[in-house]
Symmetry: C2
Subunit: 361 residues, 2 copies
DNA sequence: GGGATCTCTGTAAGCGCTTTCATCGGGTCC
DNA sequence: GGACCCGATGAAAGCGCTTACAGAGATCCC
């Protein structure tokens, strides 16, 4: 074994002289230098052991590992990131919209990201304030990023792409240089609307939701109008504007139903739909006898509401997981040409869209 | 203005010679050196401008800012963290338990963390696999951490504390050296159970949930038994074991109800309770006439279920937000003595616990 | 008018790692 | 027995920042 002197390894590392020994102060985290010293090896060897790089003699490795566990050494992540030029982390950006939707997407995402050895940073943009800055800050902490729906403008995304940051958008129209993952909104809207018009024979429709607010909603509106046109049913000129939560849905539905109630009300998500059911009942309308109502997302509450809410089930976890996989491929450099994927959804028929004589419940 | 030579600033920085100019390659992120060079100043000045440190002449600042925006420069986060010795990030660790509960807590947390200028890293421990390693890895990336319920053992938490990492536990019993934030589980269990026994006169009870699975549940069990004892009602010897989700609740309730149905069933959360309602109805029991059922959390579905579910509303966002505040104080060094806080909950009476003659609905 | 003070800027060390390259001490090979 | 190779290790540069310290002018005061 070589003798250890107090002379620092690198000429420039003068500061080391003063802090060679452990202070023993609680909270002071050890560095690779302390481990190396305790094990009687150089920091290079410690690094090799920590990273599992080949070419360390078994007994040396053993000695280093002992010091590591003695000192409870954990490498500094920032130092490692700086030296490696990567973060081993990825980010996911979503609007506030608290509902279960985003939670599920994030969970699906996190699970896969953890498998691929990446930490996950989350960022909610709530409305607007400083979203650009926050996203750019996040971008500096990760190797790649998933951006959901209404969070920041395409200009910001373009900026990220131009910095060379791997990017996947989710529930949002593709942007140049990024992958995209979406649910089959237009198709499911078409199927849902056709079911209402053809199977139940409804002839007067309204669509509740803000088509400008998200690409999901605008795709649903498109599928909705297309289906009506194909069924020869009058097409409303525009959606009835309505934000995303239950109270908004109730308020908007109340105004609409007092005014000129349609026979069927297609809502952009379950929360709006549940609010609309409450509003309809308050006005003395029976659902589905007087008014059919449908939602989107198949929340837990849709299953338990009275009447059960007909809705569209989306593979939320799968969306998150797929986004994570695509991002991983990008980061790993496995692929360069962009991929745009659309996951299938499923129509969930319950009582709120009308009676199904042949089905139970 | 000083002349800029190709001689590197620091003697050790020899590598700089070869890469002084921008390559222009897309995806290559600029460094402080490029900005300094373009603005004709030293990197120290650029750093001062970026951080808003006082003492930079207005026109110099102007020039630097122009270069920064020309080059779309974003400082390297790892380099900054390494130099500053901090991450400007904090972590939150939770079990898988996907329900809305955790999502809300995390959102409340993230909001506050963002306000205090910290990024948020999330980690779910799903079950158990490698939880310790994952948590320690996370610990190396953050300045402080919040740990929820059933995730890792107290030994791991102690290890974090001994490393000097500021720590807050949430929905979990306090550990030495960490703050804690909890909801008033025992008190709300006591109030809920008393309501069932005293106001509705129920005399035969069961508790559905795994008391060993989380401190929340075990506190609820404790408040439950205490209330029964105080009301002179027979106390079950143990909870009826049951995991956390709806299917589990249904299955466990089915077994229980066939066997020896109680008059009132207190469930450890809403999902179990909703499953139990389904089971009861399938067995031909009317809720609440034959069987009273209650939950916890006041999920959206509790409000929409039929009958409406009597439950306990917990301030989930507030719990997350409070944890973030306490963590911030710790990280900022504003406080050293630990704080343990309990947030009040609210009993939400709906139809599932029995008829309330004097109340509507 | 000359030292004291202030303002602005640059120099260089240091943060804790990774990794290239050089070195060293044995075997191996004919 | 010398040329060679190979495995194990260490020295040192470099990742991109922050910041203590020093220096250069400009300003001030008596």
């Amino acid at each position: 074994m070589k003798a250890l002197t107090e002379i620092p390894q690198a000429p420039g590392r003068i500061g080391r002289i003063g802090r060679a020994g452990r202070t023993g102060r609680a909270g002071r985290s050890d560095t690779i230098y302390e481990v190396a010293q305790q094990a009687g090896v150089s920091i290079a060897t410690v690094s090799r052991v920590m990273r599992g790089t080949a070419g360390v003699a078994p007994d040396t490795r053993e000695r280093v590992l002992r010091s590591v566990s003695d000192l409870r050494y954990t490498p500094s992540r920032s130092a490692r990131s700086l030296a490696e030029g990567r973060h081993a982390a990825s980010g996911i950006v979503f609007p506030d919209l608290s509902g279960p939707y985003f939670a599920e997407v994030v969970l699906g995402y996190e699970e896969v990201a953890a498998e691929t050895g990446r930490s996950v940073l989350i960022l909610t943009t709530h409305g607007r304030e400083a979203a650009r800055e926050r996203v750019l800050d996040l971008a500096a902490r990760v190797d790649g990023m998933v951006v959901l729906g209404r969070t920041v403008g395409d200009d910001v995304l373009a900026e990220l792409v131009s910095k060379g940051l791997p990017l996947v958008v989710l529930a949002r129209y593709p942007v140049e240089g990024a992958d995209s993952v979406n649910a089959a909104n237009e198709a499911s809207a078409y199927a849902l609307t056709t079911h209402l018009a053809r199977d139940h024979g409804h002839r007067s429709f309204a669509f509740l939701g803000d088509a400008g607010a998200s690409t999901d909603t605008s795709d649903r509106w498109r599928g909705f109008t297309q289906a009506l046109a194909d069924c020869g049913v009058p097409v409303p000129s525009a959606p009835v504007p309505c934000p995303f939560d239950e109270d908004d849905g109730r308020a908007a539905a109340e105004r609409l139903l007092v005014d000129r109630p349609p026979r069927a009300l297609v809502c952009a998500n379950d929360e709006i739909a549940l609010g609309a059911i409450t509003a309809a009942e308050a006005l003395g309308l029976r659902v589905p006898d007087d008014l059919a109502i449908t939602g989107w997302d198949d929340l837990m509450a849709a299953r338990h509401s009275r009447p059960g809410l007909t809705t569209v089930s989306q593979p939320m976890r799968a969306l998150g997981a797929l986004a994570a996989h695509r991002l991983h491929e990008r980061v790993a450099g496995d692929r360069n040409e962009p991929r745009h994927e659309v996951l299938p959804t499923q129509l969930v028929q319950r009582a709120s869209c009308g009676h199904h004589p042949e089905e139970n419940r």
